[in-house]
Symmetry: C2
Subunit: 395 residues, 2 copies
């Protein structure tokens, strides 16, 4: 495999759909994407020529993968921080670096740092293994039930998050989790109006760029729909959310993308979660912004000037396609594409399993109610097929 | 390599930039693209996991490549027709098929068929090996000098096309070409106002879709710039061009994309060339239309419903990036991207050689003069770098 001498090689640890969609941007930029995938049939491994199959929690595999990469980045948060520091020590730039990424890998580290920076967060407390229930009861006494219990590390898509309604539930669950070795923290169950997300990029050179603030709709801890821009959000609050995300990126020394999940409450914005990579709440940018989040991430980690975040339509709506019980998704393209020639279908090449994110759809235009209906219909039909009408009738 | 059971495999013969950009669309559709490339470092081979290195003029290589493909399509016109007929006979759908593709492979076959259908074309005549100069003189006596001389097969980007100004030039060139075994035809040198292109798709099911008509700007036989839609084109003439292209697609039984290059003359439209694949005049659709030509081609050859051809901006301008004398294109990204955060850069992973198409840039907006200036600056800088200003000053 030979490349023009000047073609940079970006290594991405993880072979999921984020790496897969990054490949579309790498093709345009003439950048060579190398993926470290757990298996040769991972989502990204199917569409990249330079695939290394290995374990992204193994230092040996990471060092061998990184050899010849101009920069290493990540499609998830699960590469151990000490390994990233070893990569950095070996001379491979990692973007984001281990020091920044720690805040996306450990929710307690993140809360402590953001609170120290004065960034508004929900009230929280570490739950120590000794005296756990007492600490939790004291937290609930101050902030009220229910309490949000979180694993400090390793959660995603609602996994690692539990809503504890009372002392009885706490006494049932907490000792069990501690016995499994899960490190826990408690957070106030915030009465929010809705969830928002702020997506920004920051380059090593120090340039920042912020996308329009979006509304994210969750069901059962999984994002189902993203509306860009967040409808009815005041200009002041939108600007505050962008400023906040840029300040976090700067304060934490993030290079690449930073997604900040936010609660909009009566008292203002609170930071929920951070991710330092392309994010589900930014898939709308593929068609809905002049520069997609995947291209922006590549530009940022390569220290290229960042691209315009200007929206390309008044509204963009993205809906996730979850797996249903019939895995033959392709045969359902016929209806979806004939019914709506303007819907953009993105499938991830993943086996369909019930509830698994296997793709997304995007629609763009002026009439938000119509766009949401179109996105929901397409995503629902790709999931359920002809059973859709029946299921919708049941609700 | 395993795929979900329902993932179709599209084989594309040829590993150039058209196959490369088709991969971006295949990733979104969850379609598996297999490429038959002449070398492992061909433009598309660098970005596709399923690459077969072989000779797309060898029947054995084609048959082996096609095994397991649900459909075979092409990124150029150079696969021999008899081989495509053999593939079809072996049970592999080829789209376009050999019968249709013959009209894009042989300009004389195309002229005879289109003239028979009543499609307006420039006056033409075959130049037989015996009595060639007499036939050419008679043609010039009827239609005037200069005469356009074309190789009936194998030309591209101005290669295989000669402008013959007088009998002396004819006497010098024609015997030499005939001695090399080139089959020749003459065409009237049409006094056109400008060149246009019509891009349509047609599926085996019989659905058709037409993109807005574009203006193409050529320098030295190479397309340098495409403006979508063609500025100042009357609605009647635009509709006529679309109708004409759809009629050619239907009449010739094209499946997949058909690009029709047109001359706009005082007397109306004339067909110049045909291509049955994604086409340089359609690169603007990646950002400028709701469905890119690459996605549309995949949808058509898979017999999926076609996507919306609606433009996403008032004007889109695409400029080709040609190779300059300094091959380090990547270092020139910094200026281009910092200067214009909205320009979309597409590089093909090809070694830079002077005059070779190595990429393109696209800009979108309302102010056409500004867009053309931005596109020209970005393409020029990627070609020449700091020497650009000097070269522009020289003109």
């Amino acid at each position: 495999m030979t490349y023009p001498a000047d073609t940079p090689v970006v290594g991405m640890a993880g072979g999921g759909q984020l790496a897969r969609m990054t490949q579309q941007a790498a093709i345009a930029l003439g950048v060579s994407l190398r993926v470290l995938a757990g298996a040769a049939d991972d989502s990204a491994a199917k569409v990249v020529s330079d695939v290394r199959v290995g374990d992204d929690r193994s230092l040996d595999d990471l060092l061998s993968f990184a050899k010849g990469c101009d920069v290493v980045t990540f499609d998830h948060e699960h590469v151990p921080g000490p390994h990233i520091r070893e990569l950095e020590a070996s001379g491979v730039p990692c973007r984001p670096g281990a020091a920044a990424l720690a805040h996306a890998q450990d929710k307690l580290v993140m809360r402590e740092r953001l609170s120290g920076m004065g960034v508004p967060c929900p009230a929280y407390a570490h739950i120590p293994a000794g005296g756990a229930l007492d600490v939790l009861e004291a937290f609930a006494a101050e902030h009220g039930w229910p309490v949000v219990l979180k694993a400090t590390r390793g959660g995603y898509d609602g996994k690692g998050v539990w809503i504890i309604r009372d002392s009885g539930e706490a006494a049932d669950l907490v000792p069990r989790l501690l016995a499994e070795g899960v490190d826990l923290m408690a957070e106030r169950h915030v009465p929010f109006r809705r969830e928002l997300a702020a997506l920004v990029a920051r380059s090593p050179y120090g340039q920042g760029a912020a996308y329009p603030i979006v509304e994210t709709v969750q069901e059962g801890g999984i994002c189902t729909e993203v509306i860009a821009p967040a409808p009815g959000l005041s200009g002041d609050l939108a600007a505050e959310a962008q400023r906040l995300a840029l300040a976090v990126a700067e304060g934490l020394g993030v290079t690449g993308l930073l997604a900040v999940e936010l609660f909009e409450t009566d008292a203002g914005l609170l930071v929920n979660e951070l991710a330092m990579r392309p994010h589900n709440s930014g898939h709308w940018t593929i068609e809905g912004a002049r520069t997609s989040q995947f291209e922006q991430h590549l530009r940022a980690v390569l220290d290229l000037p960042l691209g315009s975040t200007e929206p390309t339509a008044r509204y963009t709506v993205m809906a996730n396609v979850l797996g249903g019980d019939d895995p033959d998704v392709h045969s359902r393209y016929f209806h979806v594409m004939a019914h709506d020639p303007g819907v953009k279908v993105h499938m991830y090449g993943k086996e369909s399993r019930p509830g698994r994110k296997i793709g997304h759809v995007t629609v763009l235009g002026d009439d938000l109610a119509d766009l949401r209906e179109r996105a929901r219909h397409a995503a629902g039909y790709l999931r359920w097929g002809k059973a859709l009408a029946e299921r919708e009738g049941r609700r």
